[in-house]
């Protein structure tokens, strides 16, 4: 197992390198640059600006400088659009924000979605199944850009219970609505996947064997069915979790949380190459860690997978 983990970890560096090279050239192919503006800069001013950010060098030199600055000093460069800040500053300030509301959002999704799915599976095609599916649908038909204004209308404008936005260092009042708005549609997906995989597991030979042995239903479900049934859900949640903790542009913009979710989008629109590359690397590292964790989870739950990996 250790061997397997090490091999996977060895992939990190080449993967990131390919990502950086690919993203770097892709961004430069996009029309417009960070300093393209409504008023075209006079050539002399443009030349100064390009030199200031090292963009007067040939592309491969810029790429080399970028990579070596990261390797030597963990320096991801200055932001083009937020002139007083470096990429490190931007991520250090915004990532804790999205990490917080994203984490709570994931907790919300799992705590509601998984039980919903399990109950629906246990009462397959019964009243509870349809009710739960109905609830799941209900939550999925509210895309966040419809749900968020509704939440604010109710909780802020009508009842005055929660502030309509802001972060304030991450007090709980400021986390509730972003977490719900971000998570609701995923809750439906989680419920559906859990229901599907629970049904799958409940129909499998070894559960049938357990039933034949006369084990109590509760034991069968909690001891034998739950763990393997949760695997597809958790696999699904791996990348979703990465998405959640890096925030959503909609939530960041709508609730003014100040997270990095909006930087993925604003960085692209303003051609802030440095921010975009920094975020791409962060995203890749998180994806890497989460997929590895999910795989290890498989190995932990299923001895045969463990044997297969080693």
């Amino acid at each position: 197992m250790l061997n397997y983990t090490l091999r996977r970890l060895l992939m990190v560096v080449p993967t990131l390198l390919i990502l950086v090279i690919f993203a770097f050239y892709l961004m430069r192919l996009a029309p417009g640059g960070p300093f393209t503006s409504e008023r075209p800069l006079p050539p002399a001013v443009m030349a100064n600006v390009l030199e200031r950010y090292g963009m007067d060098e040939p592309l491969h030199v810029q790429l080399w400088t970028y990579v070596s600055n990261i390797v030597c000093c963990f320096d991801f460069g200055p932001s083009f659009s937020q002139k007083d800040r470096s990429v490190n500053d931007v991520i250090a300030q915004g990532f804790p924000v999205t990490l917080t509301y994203g984490f709570w959002s994931a907790v919300f999704v799992l705590l509601l979605g998984v039980p919903l799915g399990i109950i629906a599976a246990l009462r397959h095609n019964g009243f509870w199944d349809y009710t739960m599916t109905g609830l799941a649908i209900f939550s999925q038909i509210f895309p966040n850009f419809v749900l968020a204004p509704l939440l604010v209308l109710l909780f802020t404008l009508s009842w005055g219970l929660l502030p309509g936005g802001g972060w304030n260092g991450g007090q709980w009042q400021y986390i509730v609505m972003p977490a719900i708005a971000l998570g609701t549609s995923y809750m439906a997906s989680v419920a559906r996947l859990t229901r599907g995989s629970m049904l799958e597991v409940l129909g499998s030979p070894y559960i049938r064997t357990a039933r034949a042995k006369g084990l109590p239903e509760r034991t069968i479900i909690l001891r034998h069915a739950l763990k393997p049934a949760l695997l597809p859900t958790l696999t699904y949640m791996g990348p979703v979790f990465v998405y959640m903790i890096t925030g959503s542009v909609f939530v960041d913009v709508f609730f003014s949380t100040g997270g990095i979710g909006q930087d993925f989008i604003n960085g692209a629109y303003s051609r802030d190459y440095a921010i975009l590359l920094g975020l791409a690397i962060l995203y890749a590292v998180l994806t890497f860690v989460l997929t590895l964790m999910v795989d290890l989870l498989y190995a932990w739950i299923d001895p045969k997978v463990r044997a297969g990996l080693s």
Binding site: P31, V146, T287
Partner: protein, 312 residues
């Protein structure tokens, strides 16, 4: 000693034959599945709804008094007061912010969105699922490469990708569908990979191997039916996502162009004015979206139940 006894048992011909019913998809599998699906009333009802939606998108225009791009100058500027659904002026669904007939626009938008959703969604998932299955089955270096590509692809700034695509290939419906598939090919990859990783060490796969079956045959004949449920559910999750993604892609200039529209575009326009008293602009496109999505839910579940190889 016990171990070797077990191994001997595993290698015996008798064992393989005992496992056979589970591994060989019986000839009547698809027929059975069809029958099981037909028995699921919700699923059949949903198929009917989806059929109606498709008919609506094709023939809906026959019942419209306005074209989807015409501005009704009489209501322009008084949308909030006079722009609601009305039988008198022929705006069955009311008008949009520019006084254009919402009914005609919803019909037109439904056509776009169904086309994009039902092509790009399933194709993306099939791509992802196939790669995931191969990755999970073979493992090793191939698996690590696929995971690497997966990681890179998720991290690529996709807006830039769309913008570059637009710059090089311009705008059209087929460009848009292609772009959406390209961005979504990772859909369902991990989850199918995980399922295959678990299934490939099951007894019935060992047995199939012992019977001398090729890897391809094992994957597509014996493993695929067991992961079909994931593919089906995932597809029903991805289609609505794709329908929403379309509006972003069009926003960036790759997809459709005004005055053409889509359900995604109508929804975001409607949502942006939902607090200003023109709720019908959100309500009607949302209703279409809900019908499509609910139908997909039940069809997905119905298919899952029908395709479950263990429910025989």
């Amino acid at each position: 000693m016990i171990l070797s006894a077990a191994r001997r048992r595993l290698q015996s011909r008798a064992f393989a034959e005992e496992q056979a019913p589970e591994m060989v998809a019986s000839r009547s599998f698809w027929a059975d599945a069809g029958q099981r699906f037909m028995r699921n009333r919700m699923a059949i009802f949903s198929v009917g709804m989806l059929g109606l939606l498709i008919l609506f998108s094709i023939f809906g225009n026959l019942f419209s008094r306005w074209s989807f791009e015409e501005i009704d100058w009489n209501v322009l500027g008084r949308i909030k007061e006079d722009g609601g659904p009305s039988l008198e002026n022929g705006h069955w669904f009311g008008v949009d912010e520019l006084g254009r007939d919402l009914y005609a626009r919803v019909v037109q938008g439904t056509r776009t969105s169904l086309l994009v959703g039902f092509i790009a969604g399933p194709v993306s998932v099939l791509l992802g699922a196939t790669l995931g299955a191969l990755s999970g089955y073979y493992g090793g270096r191939f698996d690590r490469t696929v995971l690497g590509a997966y990681t890179i692809w998720l991290a690529i700034p996709y807006i830039i990708f769309f913008v570059v695509w637009q710059a090089f290939f311009g705008r059209s419906m087929s460009q848009m569908i292609m772009v959406i598939i390209l961005v979504n090919w990772t859909a369902g990859l991990l989850i199918v990979r995980g399922q295959v990783m678990m299934l490939k060490n099951r007894e019935f796969v060992d047995a199939a191997r012992m019977l001398g079956m090729s890897d391809t045959k094992i994957i597509f004949r014996h493993l695929a039916p067991n992961v079909l449920w994931v593919v089906v559910i995932y597809t029903s999750l991805v289609i609505p996502e794709v329908i929403m993604m379309e509006s972003l892609v069009s926003f960036l200039g790759v997809g459709i162009q005004e005055p053409n529209t889509s359900i995604g575009a109508l929804l975001s326009q409607g949502a942006s004015t939902m607090t200003f008293g023109t709720l019908w602009q959100l309500g009607f496109p949302a209703a279409i979206f809900v019908i499509a999505q609910v139908s997909l839910f039940y069809i997905g579940d119905g298919l899952r139940d029908a395709l479950d190889p263990k429910e025989r």
